[in-house]
């Protein structure tokens, strides 16, 4: 894997992706639930594809079941990307 990716970089890219998926930028915070951002399971699949393309990190359907907040997604990506 290339140079280590920082939490800030992950957060920046994930935020950008969630905005693309239709979330309001100001509402995107670590504690924000995807449901409250009006993002559903189809959006999370799209997010997973972006994450895999960016950092080679795979997020499975099973991961998504327990992934309720933005922060949980960031944690998972950070953990697997390092």
């Amino acid at each position: 894997m290339a140079a280590t990716v920082t939490r800030e970089q992950i957060q920046e890219r994930v935020t950008e992706a969630l905005v693309e998926l239709g979330a309001e930028k100001d509402d995107i915070k670590p504690e924000a639930e995807f449901e409250a951002l009006d993002l559903d399971s189809l959006d999370l699949v799209e997010l997973a594809q972006i994450v895999e393309e960016e950092w080679g990190v795979e997020i499975t359907a099973k991961d998504m079941e327990s992934m309720k907040t933005v922060g949980q997604a960031l944690d998972l990506i950070e953990q697997r990307a390092s």
Partner: protein, 425 residues
């Protein structure tokens, strides 16, 4: 026993612009929305009416449907109508559905692999995406589905909704059609079968016609049981009085040359409406500009209306916007009703040369008055001041009573014939 059904709202997005007024006013004035052999909705910007998320998650055919539906529901005063969601249906036809999404996702599959296919691909490309999405947006919780019968899909949707409301399965229904198929694959496929005009000119019923010009867009109508509409104080634009549908069972793409199946559909619609052929004051033709359709349709109109056919103005919306495939029947129903209300038959733009045996009044050049039993009277021509606008203006009309009854024909690949009968209020 069946309930009378009124139209309380209409909406359209077409190559003539966003909104039903743009469609009827510009077509009546003889303007065309066709450019470079295509009928694109250039003025359409989904972001004006839809959220970013709604736009992103919808194929263009669904976006067009949503915007036309908003217009129709707003005109009907839907938000305050107080009609139970469970008593409201939503039926939207399409010829092909999300073909733009199919093509772009196929590019992804080929170039990047199966894992890169969008999770939104299916909900965007499925042919019922428009009906499901529109129902969701407006909380319409009665019967909801798409009709798929090629270029008759919009008319079938209207007919299905009419029966639903007549029979009491619903009190109201949003009905219409939507299509956005101006894609490389669709273009190539219609081209190789010689259906598209190689000259890029839509001139229905003209001797020189050489195929249809493809267009995109959507048309929607809000229909309601009359008793329900009047009880809530809605003002009907007109009545949806009849529906007839048949099959040619002849050839998958060519119409049956005598127009027998189409004539049966016209007769069925008139019978359903309780209207005599002599009462039909305007025919909005399917009129695709293909050699076969326009000849067979002429035969059908003559067979169904008899001697009266020679006296009825017959014009084709496709001369102004091209062929909107599964949206055509719905957009043309909107145009028919607004033409009846204005008392003016818009012209078949570009019609100049008569073909032997095709001897109806195709309304060349300029709009002409729709008169009651037009065969019995000498008609005044429309003045140079331009056409009356839709929705009731009548300043330039002659002093013969305006005809109120019209039919809209739709025929589709597959041998589908669907005709609806409308009456202006």
């Amino acid at each position: 026993m069946s309930r009378r059904v009124v139209v309380t709202g209409v909406g359209a997005v077409t190559p003539l612009g966003v909104g039903a007024p743009a469609l009827i006013d510009r077509w009546t004035a003889g303007e065309s929305g066709i450019e470079d052999g295509l009928g694109r909705c250039d003025a359409f910007d989904p972001s004006e009416r839809l959220t970013r998320k709604e736009t992103k998650r919808a194929d263009r055919f669904t976006q067009l449907a949503q915007v036309a539906a908003l217009e129709a529901l707003e005109q009907a005063g839907w938000e305050d109508a107080g009609i139970e969601p469970e008593r409201t249906g939503c039926i939207i036809g399409t010829g092909i559905g999300g073909i733009g999404t199919i093509e772009s996702q196929h590019d992804v599959l080929r170039d990047d692999g199966a894992k890169k296919i969008s999770a939104l691909a299916i909900p965007m490309l499925m042919a019922n995406a428009a009906s499901g999405s529109v129902a969701m947006r407006h909380n319409l919780k009665g019967q909801c589905y798409g009709t798929v019968s090629a270029c008759a899909a919009g008319a079938h949707a209207i007919g299905a909704g009419l029966r639903m409301v007549q029979y009491g399965d619903a009190d109201a229904c949003l009905v219409g059609g939507s299509e956005s198929a101006l894609t490389p694959l669709t273009n190539a496929a219609f081209t190789v079968m010689a259906a598209l005009s190689p000259t890029g000119i839509s001139r229905p019923f003209d001797a020189r016609r050489d195929g249809f010009v493809m267009g995109e867009g959507a048309g929607m109508l809000v229909i309601e049981a009359e008793e329900v509409a009047l009880a809530r104080g809605a003002v009907p634009l007109g009545y949806l009085t009849g529906y007839g549908a048949t099959a040619d069972a002849h050839h998958l793409t060519a119409p049956e040359p005598s127009g027998e199946g189409a004539a049966r559909a016209i007769r069925a619609a008139l019978g359903d409406a309780g209207v005599e052929p002599e009462e039909v004051a305007y025919v909005n033709a399917h009129g695709t500009s293909t050699p076969m359709n326009d000849r067979a349709e002429t035969e059908a109109i003559k067979a169904a209306l008899g001697d009266h056919a020679a006296h009825v103005p017959v014009s084709s919306t496709k001369s102004a916007i091209g062929h909107l495939l599964g949206a055509a029947g719905a957009v043309e129903a909107v145009a028919t009703l607004l033409a009846l209300r204005a008392g003016l038959a818009p012209p078949t733009i570009g019609w100049e040369e008569r073909e032997e045996g095709m001897d109806l009044d195709y309304v060349p050049d300029t709009a002409k008055p729709i008169a009651e039993r037009s065969g019995d009277r000498e008609l005044a021509s429309v003045g140079a001041s331009g056409p009356a606008v839709a929705n009731g203006a009548s300043g330039s009309l002659p002093d013969v009573p305006a005809g109120r009854v019209g039919i809209s024909n739709s025929f589709g690949f597959g041998g589908h014939n669907a005709v609806i009968c409308l009456e202006a209020s």
